[in-house]
């Protein structure tokens, strides 16, 4: 008979093994479709009869070239960058400021105001799209990048305000007190002292906003036509001979995924923590 300690050690080892087994199976299920699409993006059409996980006979970039120039993914890519970069930059600045306003000050009606801003976290674009469309016409910015940027800045501002407010509330107020006593204005306190201190929260926010904006579909589908379309919409609306060309579609899909995945791999900690705690709070 085994002694009690030995039994416990065995049980621990068995449980660790079981844990790894379960996690590996589900990890494979999560990643295999992605692997399949990457491999397919390098194949020729006749190779599609092979297993999706077989290696391509020859690693060629032809499908990527077709997607990039033939299916005009270069245009969509450019458009994506032109939309995502301004959205993230403007939203970060505005929500840092408002997060500071909500986090550092206490004023009458602040909770009501915050609640109104938080409505943006819950309301889908479907519920605002028609008046938005009209508004863009009235402002004369329909069919420009601004029509794609401003609504997304506004929705990102909802989440950003929320996120940065929590961040500023956690910063010890002694720091602010000391700076103000030394004659620093609140504007200076925000940008010169608290902004550098908020790096972790800012990184998470940048990463989350980047992903959401990069993947945004509905707004772009309605507001953008032709060259203004961003990558996901360009991919979804692919017509003509490329629409039935699985390898070219696969190459296009990889192009849509790659920027987000690269950023995700670099910042996965902040990413997961951000998504989870953002959800917990909202």
């Amino acid at each position: 008979m085994l002694r009690y300690e030995q039994r416990m050690v065995l049980r621990k080892q068995f449980q660790a093994g079981l844990t790894y087994l379960i996690l590996t199976i589900f990890l494979l299920v999560a990643l295999l479709p992605f692997t399949g699409i990457v491999l397919t993006s390098f194949k020729e059409r006749r190779e599609l009869r092979d297993s999706p996980f077989s290696l391509p006979e020859e690693w060629k970039w032809d499908n990527y070239e077709d997607a990039w120039t033939g299916a005009r993914f270069s245009t969509y890519f450019k458009s994506s960058v032109y939309v995502v970069v301004p959205v993230v930059v403007i939203a970060i600045i505005l929500s840092t400021m408002s997060g500071f306003g909500f986090g550092m000050y206490k004023f009458r009606g602040d909770n009501i105001l915050l609640f109104i801003i938080m409505l943006g976290l819950m309301v889908p674009f479907e519920a605002v799209i028609i008046p938005l469309w009209q508004l863009m016409g009235q402002l004369g910015i329909r069919d420009t990048y601004w029509a794609l940027i401003l609504p997304q800045v506004a929705l990102s501002f909802s989440f950003g305000t929320f996120w940065m407010r929590a961040n500023f509330k956690n910063i010890p107020t002694e720091i602010v007190d000391a700076a103000v006593v030394d004659g620093c204005s609140m504007w200076g306190v925000l940008w010169r002292i608290l902004f550098p201190l908020s790096r972790p929260a800012l990184v998470s926010l940048v990463v989350l906003l980047f992903m959401w904006t990069w993947n945004e579909f509905f707004l772009i589908l309605v507001m953008a036509s032709g060259d203004l379309r961003t990558l996901p919409v360009g991919l979804a609306l692919l017509r003509g001979r490329y629409a039935s060309d699985v390898p070219v579609m696969a190459a296009g899909s990889v192009m849509v995924l790659l920027p987000v995945l690269v950023i995700y791999v670099l910042f996965q900690r902040q990413f997961i923590r951000g998504m989870i705690s953002g959800a917990v709070k909202s």
Partner: protein
Amino acid sequence: MFKKIMSQASNSSSEPTVKHGVEIVSTPSFSERLQSLIPWRRRTSAVPFSSGSQALLFILPGLIIYVVFVLFPIIGTIRYSFMEWTGFTEPEWIGLDNYRELMDDEDFIKAIQNNFFFSIFYTIIPILIGLFLVSLMSRSRLKGMFIFRAGLFVPQVMSPVVVGIIWRWLFDYSGPINRALSITGLQGVFESVGLLRRVTPWLGDFTYAPYAVGMVGTWVEYGLCMVLFLAGIQSISEELYDAAIVFGANPLQQFWFVTLPGLRQHVLVAFVLTFIAALRVFDLVFVLTRQGGPGRETIVTSILVYKNTFNLHRAGYGAAMAVVLATIIVVISAGVFWLQSRDSENA
């Protein structure tokens, strides 16, 4: 309910003001009263933490954009939901007629039903998978966990359009899934037991399409649930399990009385995230079954809003649908938020 949200928010927000010390004016009623008794204190307040006008200066730039591009449009949509309007002619006020029509609209009822049907796959199944697996797993920290955490989360960061394209390819009539079924001989097995009639074009089949779309939802969401619950289970004190074992609890009882209560918050978060995803789903269905086909078997509310507004030129009616959808989402979010705040008050 709102009062509760407010009071909770203000409770938490009053914390930092305590740290400010006497010089700084803050608004909690007690200190306000104190300051009115001691007038010189007010004069020495160097830091304008209670100056609402200055706070507004920081909030205003973003707020203007938010009001113009989100708040006004929300109000506009609500207004249009009471109108008969093609989108380009003069709108006509018809009161609640759109909402009355919604209640008898078979397409709309089907869409809402589908949203809730998909929520089984988006919400219930991933949470059950997550709970079941996590209960089997070791509670101690293991090496290399971050790889699994990062990998399981990948479907969450992928563009739903790409997810749709990948799965449309996998589910294709001559796609990898059907070929795998026939190569392994499972196709024959399934046919002989009556599970399948023939080689199935999964997403084009009236019977199987809703399940196929639902399955993709499960694939997207289960990683989120596992990651959440894995984080949660490690925060449960090992002593609770020891105590349960001392009292003779079997593994099932341990799960029921220790694990599940310990994961309550995490389950709630997983629920609200995945449920809202199921209610809002648009791009995935748009790509996967080309806007809700075959027939209207996989149609969802957001697709119907899009179709009514832009294809059928019934913008007023589409607005009414959008209002109903948004209301459901806001009510559920607020409800869960309320549950959560009540939960943390009790804790």
